[in-house]
Assembly symmetry: C2
Homo-oligomer: 488 residues x 2
């Protein structure tokens, strides 16, 4: 077996992994007849000693040779060079010839059905117009200021520690800044211990629901409603009961009837600009909902992700601002202000609940990106965020008005909608045209629009779609409506 030692040369400086060098060496010498067909190879331990490499490396090389069909292992006999060799055009053995890959399926059993599939979107194409679900215009996102601030902070010696572990609840600087901001703008009587910094509203939802719900618990949510939230509740094993939503929000009379019949654990509500219908929960209903929570001892998840983007008048105070009994878990986000892929948000809740949520959060991903948290705090403190929100609100209000006018004048007979008081999309019902066909036609003409089935149930077909206006300028809106018109 000295032959192996003589023939297989390993170049420790090479970029090619050692195990590939070994398998390539074998292949070369098998082809050239130096290793004969049918030759029995020594064990991996022996080869490792001969070549003075780690045994794992030899096993990997043999695995590769086996996968490529050069060797075979016969039970209780050993490993042999195959008598019938694979047909390969002669030439350099490159990495591309490697065939050993990770298995497609796992070799162990797990309950695949416990993980509910979620629609996985790709990043939006840049060569098409898109009526998205109501997302901000990332072209105006204050990323430049954020990154500049990060850079400035990262150079300060005392900020270096924020690159270390610590602060699973979020940095004290961001929590104090946010607490003051929420006190002032939303009347939320919070202190820094009432706040957990999350990754967007979605992590707030996941954490809060994980803590409150046990499998089999009942959650109430509006219908039509926000799919991602419902899916998270179901992922956690909860049962979702749907409440009708009208122009004042979820129906509280129906909720009360349900409470009289059965134990409910949690009510999920989007107080501003309900997804998908964009309605705002009225003051009267907020007050009644709080009273019901106190009476029936359920939790309210108040997902106020869209508070900052109200156009007609001042937004309505959060229920959390009135809740003296600890029923409301308030969720907010910076993603609509900064950008969807810069994922920061927050939960405001009783301090004991925040501690539980922090413990769970640490188990999930340890902590947030602390230096960036401090950079966001800086943007709040120096007024950048307030200015950006104001600028965005003005811009999006104009874009809302422009799109609504376009839809009315150009497509008025095909569809109907209410002008939304806030948010970033118009909930639009198409009368006759089947939206799934319209969407197909539109795509061919360079416009992406959803097929109108997202909120359908067995009983109701909405044939409606959220037409996001915030991320389209006037020109783009006009083009998009023009394309839509040709598809009707």
């Amino acid at each position: 077996m000295n032959l192996i030692k003589q023939l297989i040369i390993i170049d420790a400086q090479s970029d090619t992994p050692v195990y590939i060098q070994i398998s390539n060496g074998f292949i070369q010498h098998i082809r050239q007849g130096r290793f004969k067909k049918g030759l029995k190879l020594p064990g991996s331990r022996k080869i490792a000693t001969l070549l003075q490499v780690n045994r794992m490396t030899v096993v990997a090389a043999l695995n590769e040779l086996d996968a490529q069909g050069w060797i075979e292992t016969l039970p209780r006999k050993g490993t042999f060079i195959k008598k019938i060799l694979p047909l390969l055009t002669p030439g350099k053995i490159t990495e591309e010839t490697r065939v050993f890959t990770i298995a497609d399926k796992t070799g162990f059993q797990y309950d695949e059905k416990r993980i509910i599939p979620i629609e996985l979107s790709d990043f939006p194409p840049t060569d098409k117009l898109i009526f998205n679900d109501g997302f901000p215009d990332v072209r105006i996102a204050p990323t430049e200021q954020l990154i500049k601030t990060m850079r400035r902070l990262s150079k300060l010696a005392f900020q270096k520690k924020y690159l270390m572990y610590g602060g699973a609840q979020g940095t004290i600087m961001l929590r104090e800044t946010l607490s003051a901001f929420l006190n002032e703008t939303r009347g939320l009587p919070s202190s820094s211990e009432n706040i957990l910094i999350t990754r967007g509203a979605q992590m707030g939802l996941y954490l809060a629901a994980s803590i409150i719900l046990k499998p089999g618990d009942v959650v109430i949510a509006g219908s039509p409603g926000y799919a991602a939230a419902n899916l998270t509740f179901r992922q956690l094993g909860a049962k979702v009961i749907h409440l009708p939503v009208d122009d004042k929000g979820i129906n509280i009379d129906t909720l009360e009837e349900i409470c009289q019949r059965q134990k409910i654990k949690m009510v999920y509500v989007i107080p501003h600009h309900h997804n998908p219908t964009t309605v705002t929960l009225s003051s009267e209903r907020r007050i009644r909902l709080l009273a019901l929570a106190a009476k029936y001892k359920f939790a309210i998840i108040e997902d106020d992700y869209d508070y900052d983007f109200h156009y007609s008048s001042k937004p309505i105070m959060p229920m959390a601002s009135l809740d003296r009994n600890g029923h409301v878990i308030y969720i907010g986000t910076f993603t609509k202000t900064l950008a969807p892929a810069i994922r920061f948000g927050f939960i405001v809740a009783p301090a004991s609940f925040i501690r539980s949520a922090t413990h769970l959060r640490k188990s999930i991903d340890t902590q947030g990106d602390s230096l960036m948290e401090n950079a966001i705090a800086e943007l709040y403190k120096d007024g950048t965020m307030a200015r950006h929100i104001k600028k965005s609100v003005n811009l999006y209000r104009e874009r809302r008005d422009h799109l609504c006018k376009l839809l009315q004048t150009e497509l008025g007979k095909h569809l109907s909608f209410d002008i939304p008081a806030g948010g970033m999309s118009v909930w639009t019902k198409f009368h006759k045209a089947d939206l799934s066909i319209v969407a197909q036609r539109a795509l061919k003409n360079g416009l992406i629009i959803r097929n109108g089935k997202d909120y359908d149930t067995d009983k109701v077909k909405y044939n409606s779609v959220r037409l996001g206006f915030a991320s389209l300028n006037f020109n783009e809106q006009e083009k998009a409506v023009r394309i839509l018109k040709t598809c009707l």
Copy 2:
């Protein structure tokens, strides 16, 4: 009730929230006797109409007045100005006088015990020396390059879409770059569909364990072992069985005995530099562990967070590189290379498993910070990461040698340790001195060191501590050892 309309003046331009203006107005006029003690107030709806504000705002103002003790609500009678008013020194009513705060406890029931408390560390103090658990030196972290790259990318028009929603699995650019890097350096035969970008190794652990484990399932982990992992498994309801760890890693003979007796679902293993003892799992044991996994059909979580930091020889190939049957879920991280609070890591696994993990991840926090993912990919492509790893390894090797020499020469008779082949800490056993007392004394002298109880069980008291050397330069190490010496 025209009095209310006359006396309560709202300044829409003021920074003070409207509800605070209203409550302050009431207090001022109650004090000055314009609103008499015992006066019955109209309902919130009526006041809202009189003041032309939202009813929620009025309810918030009344809440505040109630919390401060100015008004009281009598059941079935109404709300009245109190006959006995709170004693307050006269003066301007400022925001500081607000007493209405969020409740400490929730008003709904949830099973608090389901969330296991985790030690919540704060950021490290900058005025003390710290023997941490083995963390990188963030002073040399390539944050400057990362932030610069982010800034450059954020200005490119086609990169703007990476600020939008999309790519819950991680950007294709980072997954392809990482796949090539792992193929080349670790012999991991992955493609981009085998990779999920996570938030550090911790999220990899949480996702993988969530998918594999059901409550009651059995997990095997080394003892002494990594506390955060064990806690996550217990958080998910699994039962953790501990395997002894010696100088070659976890004991595979014991594992086989357990497998013969009962069904195990998963083995958790740190192949390089086991936490806390820093040993590397030997090739022999890796091969046997893989064979056992195939025989008993369990999953292996291979948490190779420390692969890049091996000093003595080349690191050993991952088991994932040899696994042809889909038993290994491989976890890695960038946090040790970039910085702990820049949270990026990855899972490598069969494509079907990665899809499940991506669905769950989307439910937890939607997606990663995509622009930063692309920036990290750039740092890999332009060689920055490879250079930084090489530089860190050289630096940390020197620091390891320096600390080991110091410990030997200065404290040799008090403690014992093996020189670690990799990682960022020395697992040090103290002979006689009680570490909990040493830690207290050290703190008084400006040195933070753990109390040696972290890994204790009912049966074993280790009186050992991980002395992190990577984040201390020679000078700091010398100071730290000097302080330690005075405490023994």
